[in-house]
Symmetry: C3
Subunit: 172 residues, 3 copies
């Protein structure tokens, strides 16, 4: 295991005080907080890449943070947030296929909670499987995700509704 | 996609400095930290709404934060934390049904790790599926969850034991 | 439900100002940030305990935080991070068995995304099931996990590649 010296070099230039080579970059200067609620438009059942939509809303504020964390929280129990491929839409389609295979739906399903439609209880289960919250590192004013990573909103209901996401930024 | 202007208005009143309409509310004033370990009493196998228990322990401290994050961490590998429906207990029962269907248990199960009982290895798997940690936004002294969201402790063992949760609050 | 008074006692000694018995320990002194990218060496497909490797890289910096949060973020979409048993390697083997049972692979699998090999789409699904990010409380200079908890890197691809992890520490 090796430290990423390239990354450490770049951090050293933005954080103060500068630290010795090989140790973590640290700073006690000026922590900041920012928080915003974003309403995402209704999307059909399935997995959707929403990185551009999130960045459009928070990109300007994000640029003010050299080092920190971005927290993304979905205020719903029948959809989910996850991080996965940002390139091939087939990955999104296959993930939806998987979720539908693993969580039974319709008359053969064993659910008690059926009042809100056959897709409702499966949606709750899928929401807990993937979760409703993500925390992503911020480095030099950007979300520090891997090359192929993107933020997905997974809509588990058949009837599209708008979804609210609370984004909280914290850092220096 | 639209910003939630109603939300921004309310944040503007509690965070300083006030920010222009449409951008995120930010502040660099007085970050605070608080941390507490809560011991939850033994609960039977299944999913349990614990929001009231958590709020009873942290509510007073929470009220001191205008903007921040609450981190809830379960110190165990055979139970889990998730956010889901806070209203109909059938959703909890159905989620337990799902977990038991998806993770085989008993003589037909393929597990090597069996010394601690037939429910132990399935409990470990369920723990990783739902996870042991949640981060929830704090806004104006309250957990900023959606109307129907609640915190669940999912107990995956048959023999009830007390469970420890470390809650960490950070914000302004 | 009872507060962990033993824990509160120990926190009281390290955080300022001291707080009255039974309430949360709080402080507004000197927030710090630290961030480091760690490159983990290639590991075979399966679940691997990486707590020692992570601590070797961040342990010295961690010791400077009395109270805080450690965020661990994997920059990949075909591996995952989770917290589970740190003792019996059979738990890791059984978890890998479970993942392979639940996500079909090979000619009978329904995936469209197959260009990168039969283990690729299953790897993406497993990555979203367990997730790529963990947040762990820091207390008195150490990760405040339970006795049996450890950090796992779950490698879902057959061909081993190095994996990058961004660790962000924040606290007082």
């Amino acid at each position: 295991m090796q430290s990423s010296t390239i990354f450490l070099s770049s951090v050293r230039s933005v954080l103060t005080p500068a630290t010795e080579r090989g140790s973590m970059a640290t700073s006690s200067n000026g922590p900041k907080w920012a928080q915003k609620t974003i309403t995402l438009p209704p999307q059909r059942r399935g997995c959707h890449l929403i990185t551009p939509k999130i960045l459009k809303e928070i990109g300007q504020d994000l640029s003010g943070f050299n080092c920190g964390l971005a927290h993304v929280f979905l205020q719903h129990t029948s959809a989910s947030l996850t991080i996965n491929e940002n390139y091939d839409p087939d990955v999104q389609a296959d993930t939806e296929t998987f979720l539908n295979r693993i969580v039974p739906e319709g008359s053969s399903a064993p659910w008690r909670h059926t009042m809100e439609g056959p897709d409702d209880m499966p949606a709750h289960i899928k929401s807990s499987m993937f979760g409703c919250q993500l925390t992503i590192p911020i480095t030099k004013g950007k979300l520090n995700m891997g090359t192929w990573q993107g933020i997905w909103l997974c809509e588990h209901r058949d009837d599209p509704t708008a979804r609210r996401v609370v984004v909280t930024l914290n850092g220096i």
